[in-house]
Every structure is written in C-alpha cells, then in structure tokens.
Amino acid sequence: MKLSDMARFNWLVVSRHRFRTAMVMLALIIGVSAVNLLIGLGEGARLFILGEFSFLGKNTLIVMPGKKETTGGMPPISGESPRELTLRDSQAVQRLPEVRLMAPLVVGFAELSYQGRLRESLIVGTSRDFMQIRKLIVQQGQFLPQSELEEARAVAVIGRKLKRELFGPEPALGRWLRAGDRRFRVIGVLSSKGQSLGMDFDEVMLVPVASAQALFNQEGLFRVFAEVRSYDYVNNAKDRILSVITERHDGEEDVTVVTQDALLASFDEILRTLTLAVGGVAAISLIVAGVLIMNVMLISVSQRTDEIGLLKALGADGTTIERLFLSEAILLALLGGISGLLLSEAILAMGRSFYPDVPLGSPVWAKVAAFLTAILTALIFAYIPSRRASAMEPVAALNEGKGVS
C-alpha cells in the first residue's frame, strides 16, 4: 500500500472520529507545547542573564592580577602575595599590535558630596578607551580626555542617577564635587544604559585612572581590559599579553588573562542543564499522551475488527495492517505535534511582545526534539494495538461485526 494512500485512508479515520482525535491531539498539544514552552522560557532566561553579564564584546580580554588556580593544586610555597598589576603593565599591553583599545581599572567606593548633599558611590578610574569598550554614551559634556595615563586630572564623568541625586535639576557640567579628600570637576554625564547586572552606570563616577589611584592611595590595578583588533587574534593576543606581563614580572606568571566567554561558560552550563532538566520533565507529560494514544488505538482496533477482517480478505497481510494502524497513530502525532508547536510558538511570541528584553524562544533542536518525542511516543504506544490488529485471523475479525452497513 502506498504511503499517500495510507495517509488518505487514515485521514478519513481521524476526521470521522472527531472527539477521539481531539482528545489525543489535546494530550499531544499539551505535551509538545509544554516541552517547547519550558525550553523556550529556559533559553530566554539563559540568554537574558548572559546578555546582562556579557557587558564586554567578544574581542575583549580581561587581565586580572594573581594566578587563577584552576587545577586546585598546592598553594604557592613562597609566602609572597602576587605582584600587583601596574599602570606600566597596562601600557605594555597597549603597545601590543593586536590590541586596539586598552582600559586599566581601579575601582573603589568613596563618599561624594556637593553643597551638603552626600552620597556613597562607586568610583571607577580608567582611560578614555573604556567608553568604547563598554559602549557608553555621553548625554552631556564629554568623556574622559585622551591623555597620558599617569596624568591625575581632576575631572569626572558621572551617571545620570548620580547627577540627579547630587545636583537635582541644576546643570552639573563644570561644577566641582568632592570625593573623599579630593575635588573633581564634572565634565560629562552618561546617558542611561538601562539596568545592567554587570555594573549600574547610572550610579557610577568615572575618573582618570591616575586620579583614582591617588584617591584610593592604591598602585595596583583591579583589572585591565584589552580589546583585540578582531576575534581571530583573541587567542594569540591572550598569549602575547601573558608573556609580556610575565616578562615584566621577572618571569613569574602571576596574572590571569581570560575572555569573557570563559568567565560565562560555566555559568552558561548550569543554566543550560537547568533548561534541559525542565524540558525533560515536560517531555514526561508526553507519556500521558502516549497512554491515551494506546487506549484510543486499542478501542479503534476493537471497533474496527470487521474492517480489519475485510482488509485481510481483500489481500492485506499482517504487516500492512500493522503499518496502517501505526501510521494512524503517527498521523495523530503529526497533527498534535504541529498544533502544539504552533500554540507554544504563539505563546512565546506573545511573551516576547510583553517582555521585549527577554529573548524568549526555543532553539530549533528543542522544537525538533519535542516533535520527534511526540512521534516516537505515538509509535511506541501504538505498537501493541497495531500488533493486535495485524495478528487477527481474517475470518474471526469478519465474523465479529456481523450485520453492519
């Protein structure tokens, strides 16, 4: 029997038994859309969280003082604390041909005050390149000037919220504010970057790196960001930076250079596992659909015994009958699976329109997996009923439903 004929034959069966078909489809729709929805939600959450934390581009390398002990081996025998990362180190990094932008970072908290208004704030000492690396936009005034890194100019760029809280509606540009025991002239106000889990730039004050060093009386850098010319150079640049600094530190490899991807990778893994687990739980709901399919098919087989007998009398062998019933289940699974996917995609699309920030949506593999699971479930649970149909003796089947139509 041709596949197209089987499809047509079964289409008549499923379209005639509307209620039965609707029940099975409903169960499959719930199962398939649960899988797709939950994975879609999980993926959306994962991408959202990663997006929030991935404040740096793919080309950016992060240099941190100290050796990250990934192997968990013995602590260094020499009691020496790791050497600090200096401004000179960062300048050496900047001179590398692969490095396009470089921003050293000194970070600390200080109390800001302006005309009696006080506020504790995060202060970041850095360079002009930082604006480009973090893709910051200046709303008023200008960003930190391009100058020698050692130059401790008394200028500051402040976040929007900080500006509002310290200056209110008054203009802030050109005003002097106090931070700890130093004074800074406001030369720029950042435009809102939105809520970012990485760092809230609405509440930050940016100053030249040397000024921050002086303010916090701290030589060592917290981090150095280095943006490489292109992604192809990332690994190369990573090695170069490491060797340059190691050389400057008398051959001791006491800094760590990582990409943001590496930092996020382990985090990503946890979220991914979680999504999979949730999707797997949803897939279990398909077993419920499977049991329903089995019952429906068993009923179908017993209701259609005389039809099975007839088909055998007309020349169908056991295999054909088995295939006929299996394909009926597959047809139901196709209908339910497609409807389930459409429904869940519609819900995800609706979710996206309500929460545009969260990239809700399941990856293609999840859709394929949900769909195939539905088909597989149908096949597995329709197997016993189909075998039962195929094993019927033609004469017994024919006699059972004597006197129809």
């Binding site: 029997m1 041709k2 004929d5 034959f9 008549l12 069966v13 005639r16 005389d306 039809e307 007998g309 007839l310 088909l311 055998k312 009398a313 007309l314 020349g315 169908a316 062998d317 056991g318 295999t319 054909t320 003796e393 033609p394 004469v395 024919l398 004597k402 006197g403 129809v404 139509s405």
Partner: protein, 238 residues
Amino acid sequence: MTFMSSPVEAADLVELKSVDRHFQLGDQTVKALDAVDLSISCGEYISVMGPSGSGKSTLLNILGLLDQPSRGEYILDGISTTTLKDKARAAYRQSEIGFVFQSYHLIPRMTARANMELPLMLAGISPKERAARIKPLMERLGIADRAEHLPKQLSGGQRQRVAIGRAIMMKPKLLLADEPTGNLDTASGTEVVKLLEELNREGITLIVVTHDLELGKRARRQIRMVDGRIAQDVLAGN
C-alpha cells in the same frame, strides 16, 4: 443426476483433501467440516446449500484462505496452501480470490468509489490506473452515478453491486459469495445473481452459498452439506 466422486483433473483450480475444521467450545469439539474432499475446475458454477450450521460458511472461508483447516490439505491452483505464510496467503487473497458477503462489508466512512478502490490501493496500484479501471466497471455495474455516495446512501442491491465490483476489481479466478442475496428483496436479489452468473460466463469460477432453493438450482453443480460433510454433489441437467 450423478454422484460426483472427486474427479482429479489437470485443470483443477481447487482441491480439498480430507479437510477437517474443528472448533473447540469448552470440552466440546464442533466439527464444522468433517473430512471434506472436493475438486473444482476452472470456470465452474457451484451452489452450496444445506441447513444452518452445516459448515457452508466454514467451507467458503477455507476456500478463500480466510481460515485454515485443522487437518487435511487445500491445493489452490496447483499449490498446497497448508504451509503458506501470512504474506503468501494475503497475496493469493489479493489476486486470485474475490469475496462477496451477505452483509456487504463496505467501509461506512468511504464512498462507493473508495470502497471499490480498496483492493487496488492495497495492491499499491497508482491512482491514475485505479481511476481508469474503476470507471468502466462502475458503469457496467450500473452504479456510476452513485460513485461518490456513502454506503448508507445506497440501496441494498446497490451496496451489493459495489461489493461485487470490489471483489472482481483484481480479476480473480475464484469468486466466493456467502449468501449474497440474503439481505436483499427478490427483485434486487435476482439482479445480483444474474450479475454473478454473467461474470461466471466470462470465465470466473463461481461458488455461491445460499438458502434459496430457486437460486441454488440455477447453478450447474449443486453441493449439499449436512453436519460438516458433503452429503450431495450433483451436476444439474444430467
């Protein structure tokens, strides 16, 4: 009238050799067929009569490979069917044997055309060729204008003609009809019988089970069954 003593000829289409068909009902054995010997040549027209429960349907089912003997041998077209597997038996039913039932056995959700199409569909014949084969047959059976009707929209006689069309769709050698007129009034019953006889004249081997003495007497060879045995096997007009 002469008593037939199972003649063995080269042209035998069907040969039963001491076939038994026993049913076990609790601790009781029902002998639906009891040591039946029967030879049928190509092109014969046979009626099978006898009291209810005498084994007529059982005989027909075995001849049609719908049922298997408990004992004995059934040779169809020179080949012993006793050891044939399901696939081979199905292939015989498909191409060599046509069945007509008292209750028509049409699939209620399918149109007259689709019902007639079934054997062709099962045989994997293309839709184009199916259409080409069905059209002239429907015209011949006088149901061309009912092609798209469902069985419940057809009269008994029309239904049985659809069923006959379905049975001969694959041009079988052997046409088995189990009380084909049992559910019909005299007029449409006679029409159906005439149709079957016409097919027989064109060469098909026809075996009709009937309770109707008049109909039974129209056959050239008449078999009478009693208690699972062939009690009488006569050639009419001799």
